[in-house]
Symmetry: none
Subunit: 410 residues, 2 copies
């Protein structure tokens, strides 16, 4: 079942509105074994909508549109699609009555402009919209099927779930499109690809995508149009293989968060955690406390931005800073040991680095970050030169530091 | 200047990735008077990319693509577009050298797989990518112009700004589409709309959009297809009027960041800042240290997640916590005063709250946050019940606390 999505609205082309409808439809369609093969956005212009719908139908015979069903003058999707299907518009008193009642419930009178929403192309199925004023429409004809949904995300989502997906399932073939994700960090996309080698052939018919982002590279396996059991079996085997190959760089699966995994491990070991942050300035603590229930594990920390704070609150010695600089292995280690002692923490993370854009030297370039972890008093340290701008360096250092601690207590 | 955008990536059609590149390009193009007339997304399949590019060129003669320029096997955009332009790929040693040097700067060896990124279609202009490994490309031929950009949003954005828009401006028509933004926080969209009243008629021909997000509601004025001077004059007058009406809720304009404004003010007053964070767990420090040069103003802080830390490092008394609870006006005030004293800071921010999802009571619901600011020893406190999930509560509380301190030193 190949489907195209046509999102309609001039504001989508101005770029001030991010199109989330397309992504939601794609996910819902994939879950029942359909495949979105193309997404198109056009403005509220008759010719653009007409050609968008006609071309999509010619390619796949099945198009879902969003937008342009409202009561204002620029809402013309229904009129154009009715023309494409050569179906004249007919007034349906029942829809108008529902609109009138909807407004009455809010203590208002239905504006005359809403009457346009009660016109329906002959032969179309009305998808009742209990969440707004614009009904969805389902048209079938010689050219294929067009499903018209409103553009308001909340209304689109409800109609999709309650009216569209159940009807599409009746057409589904019994196959599904399913994905599995392996999450890695601390390795660049190209290095990971080299490590995995020519794995695509081995994984076929599954497809493999490399998805790089600040917290690391996700590997997404997708099974296309397979029976559910077959898809799951292949995804399991493929995931195991990817985990083997990516080895120590794997930290989780699906949408698992590294901080949540770390907290789970610490909780099961009944250990408490504290942090000492210089260049990350609170981001490590922010990531940890983003997880509900983090207070069971996390004690708190010191944001030691100024060197005086490192001396006073983390017991870093002035000599160490003078000899090695604030961004150094020695200082990172002293910070980790110092915060663990001060907080009585079994586990500690310390970060000190040069986030940029200024402050780099030949010996210590922008992006250099020294990190240390402490587990029951034993300190380990490591450094990395992170690429990217200030916020990338900081986000990557945060992820890397969390990862190093997780590896030690896994 | 009509432009089409083609975003390439199977991920975009599975719905796991929201396409933000398309929106950014559309905004940048509109700003120089161009118009995006269609956006299309296709998967990483040769035929789909070929037809997507060819159809876009046939319609407008100008297409910008994103995605598929990376070093892995599914990155085929360049190969396909080169075919469309009948331009053979040629190895450019200079690009390879830049890649090798980029990896060397990070102390690593460039993987062989990255060599593919040094191949360039004959006659194409290389748009140098200093922010990642995939160069952009600009191809011109009998069929029109194709501009190929990487899909990683940070890299796409930089190439668009520094390489693409300046070149496109040479083709522009003399009129512009320009916007001006007024940033507000601490007021809901509906309340702001009520305050502004029926302002749209007065602002015409400018259009006004309300853009609510976690840090607050932005008001965006847009001038459409006007001469540059006329657009600027109207936007200036409109902005002034909006500032008057939105009053004390305005904190900035354009893409100004609240933390940066706060640091500027503190710097000009030669004052130093420290933070004490409970429920935000480091987010306030994270926001502040995101700004380059924050070390001139920011000393650091205490992440006082566990109550023991509030006692030990912030001199909050156990009696105060016992009498009022850790989330209370008294504790927020004591935290602000305590961190200011401990750090010798002229300015301090303290935050303690119930971020949820658990921990709320009838008297202290989820979302309740007490905040305090200290300026030269004088503490002020305020509370708010923030709507939304845990991360929304935390992000909104962070913004609100920064805003309250900025107002005191403005």
């Amino acid at each position: 079942m190949d489907i195209e999505i046509l999102t309609i609205g001039t504001e989508l082309l101005l770029g001030f509105t991010i199109d989330t409808n397309g992504a939601e439809i794609a996910q819902a369609v994939a879950a029942i074994g359909g495949q979105v093969v193309r997404r198109t956005s056009v403005g509220d212009e008759p010719e653009l909508i007409r050609s968008g719908v006609a071309e999509a139908l010619a390619r796949t015979g099945l198009v879902i549109t969003t937008g342009g069903l409202g009561p204002t003058r620029d809402d013309i999707t229904k009129d154009i699609v009715a023309e494409v299907f050569e179906a004249p518009l007919e007034f349906q008193g029942e829809i108008w009555q529902q609109l009138v009642q909807r407004f009455e419930r809010m203590g208002r009178k239905a504006p005359e402009s809403n009457r346009s929403q009660a016109f329906v192309p002959r032969g179309a199925t009305v998808l009742r919209n209990q969440w707004g004023t614009a009904p969805g429409l389902w048209l079938e004809g010689a050219r294929g099927t067009a499903i018209l949904l409103p553009g308001v995300p909340g209304e689109m989502r409800q109609l999709l779930k309650h009216e569209v997906i159940p009807r599409l399932m009746a057409r589904a073939t019994g196959t599904v499109v399913r994905s599995a994700t392996i999450r890695t960090t601390g390795i660049a996309e190209s290095a990971l690809a080299q490590r995995l080698g020519n794995i695509e052939a081995e994984l076929a018919p599954l497809s493999l995508a490399y998805l790089p982002s600040l917290p690391g590279v996700d590997l997404r396996l997708t099974a296309w149009s397979l029976a559910p059991d077959d898809a799951d079996r292949r995804l399991d085997a493929g995931s195991r293989r990817l985990r083997e190959l990516a080895g120590e760089f794997v930290y989780g699966k699906g949408d698992e968060d590294l901080a949540a995994l770390l907290l789970d491990r610490a909780r099961s070991r009944k250990q408490k955690l504290a942090v000492a942050e210089s260049c990350t300035g609170g981001l490590v603590g922010g990531r940890i406390t983003a997880i509900p229930g983090s207070s069971e594990v996390f004690l708190g920390g010191v944001i030691a931005y100024e060197d005086a704070v490192k001396l006073r609150d983390l017991a870093v010695s002035a000599d160490t800073i003078a000899a090695h600089g604030a961004v150094s292995e020695e200082v990172a280690r002293a910070m980790a040991a110092g915060v663990a002692r001060r907080f009585g923490a079994d586990l500690a993370i310390a970060v000190t680095g040069i986030a940029g854009p200024d402050g780099g030297t030949a010996a210590k370039p922008v992006g250099l970050v020294w990190m240390a972890t402490s587990v029951a008093g034993a300190v380990e340290s490591f450094s990395y030169v992170f690429p990217g701008a200030r916020e990338e360096v900081r986000a990557r250092a945060t992820q890397w530091a969390l990862f190093q601690l997780l590896k030690r207590i896994k």
